[in-house]
Amino acid sequence: MSYFVLADCNNFFVSCERLFNPKLEGHPVVVLSNNDGCVVARSAEAKCLGIPMGAPFFQIRDLCRTHNLIALSSNFPLYADLSDRVMQILIEAVPDIEIYSIDEAFLLFPSQQPIDELVRYCQEIRGRVKRWTSIPLSLGIAKTKTLAKLANRMAKKSTQSVFDLTNSINVTAALQQTDVGDIWGIGRRLKERLHTLGMRSAQKFVEMDPVRVRKLFGIMGERLWSELQGISCATIEEEQPKQSITCSRSFGKLIGSLDELAEPLATFVHNSCEKLRRQNSMARSLLIYCETMVDASVNRRGYYSQHIVLKAPSSDTSYMITEAKKGLSQIYQKGLLYKKCGIVLLDLINEGSVAPDLFTTNQDPKRSHLMHTIDELNARFGKKSVFFGAMGVDPKWTPSCENRSQEYTTCWEQLATARA
């Protein structure tokens, strides 16, 4: 048996912004999604104003005037860099770790360790991350991943930054005050089913007979039930290669012409093929899609897509761009205004398991060498140091991000200033 600790960065994007802009301290701050659409991160002060997660920006815009709310466009290069630093520190402190998202990681500890010692060590880790990166962490300790997630939630709700949920009396108390829908792994539909069965609190679910749980909710439900009992069904998982890779973006303005539409599409192919090669996969098919302004008066739908099956599995950017553009010309309609497009690479297989095919040219070793050289160059000299002409030189479609902070940690020209 082991202890699982979920380390989660508090209000991560806002905390990143505050590192280089101390003026934001104490103010209500939100970070907006791509294209400044909706709220993706809130400071504690912004939460106090009652701004819900995912709120569309136009609905809260007035708060900027009335309550000095500061709304920032998202700055992913900054968040990715700080996430990397936090994870580095965690990995050095704990050998067994599963990075779960940009701001969360599960840490695994042997259960022989006395719990008070473990709590102290978690506090030490928290202090180190805070001092070195300024990012505040919450840590939840429990006997299973699901309970560690709950422990983290309890830490955030209380004022304790490290929450010990290893004691079964505490677990029961925590489950009693938690809505079953707030348990990690219980989706909206399962929550509704449990509510109709009269189970509102998570404790009610745990009190169910395991045979009945299995009958009603299947093996996944039973696993969840066991996890909440303190019986771990999961271990720290190695990162699995993704089964599909998606890349899409809303445009900063509406696009009408096919040529202009092809540029963002080519860019998304470039980005997703890079990810594909990084995990040593190839795609057997791709899906491209576009979204237009919906016009109910003429009964016009807003979504058009085309699925393309490749002649042979590929990870070759220029081949994929050609195929994607062919697909795009199939669904493109003159006169429509497009607001978004995207690509999904599907049917991924491991590079090594692709049988060589004499009749296709896209498995030419020279081509794959070229692709890897491009990836190396872009990794070394910065994104888009080498790119495909189809992506366009001066993109006009890039999303609006009116209030974006500087790339303080990834761009020499945008370093923070220290007054002397």
Partner: protein, 136 residues
């Protein structure tokens, strides 16, 4: 190839001649032996770069537009040059302690020392380890 003094002075990036065409960093090991990053940065996770603006630290050899290497993991001891966040702005000064009192001291007689008081919104942000000055 023998190492002549000229060869030693140059820092080759790849060990293949440029004329060979597209360099392949994957296959050719980097010959560079001295890594300035390793030398200047002891704790990468806690190290940040900042740009200097102003002349208040001239006496400490820190000039306008210099590049500062800042390590947030180091203890802000008296006598060290620090980045402090003062009233929402990042500033570089020397931290000094006299008995129970702490000061942020500029190194230019044009500017007065800043007395750190209880009411101030002040936080030590990090410790400056190196200042890099361009001679060009």
């Amino acid at each position: 190839m023998k190492n002549t003094p000229e060869d030693l002075a140059a820092i080759p990036l790849f060990d293949i001649p440029v004329a060979a065409g597209f360099p392949s960093p994957a296959e050719n090991s980097i010959e560079q032996k001295l890594d300035l990053n390793c030398h200047l940065i002891k704790n990468p996770a806690a190290t940040f770069f900042l740009r200097v603006s102003g002349d208040s630290m001239q006496g400490a050899g820190i000039h306008n537009n210099d590049l500062l290497i800042v390590d947030r993991s180091l203890e802000p001891l008296s006598g060290r040059i620090v980045i402090a966040s003062v009233n929402g702005e990042l500033t570089v000064k020397r931290l000094k302690r006299e008995g129970p009192k702490w000061w942020l001291v500029p190194e230019n007689s044009k500017y007065p020392p800043i007395d750190i008081t209880e009411e101030m919104e002040l936080r030590i942000w990090g410790v400056v380890t190196y200042a890099i000055h361009s001679s060009l």
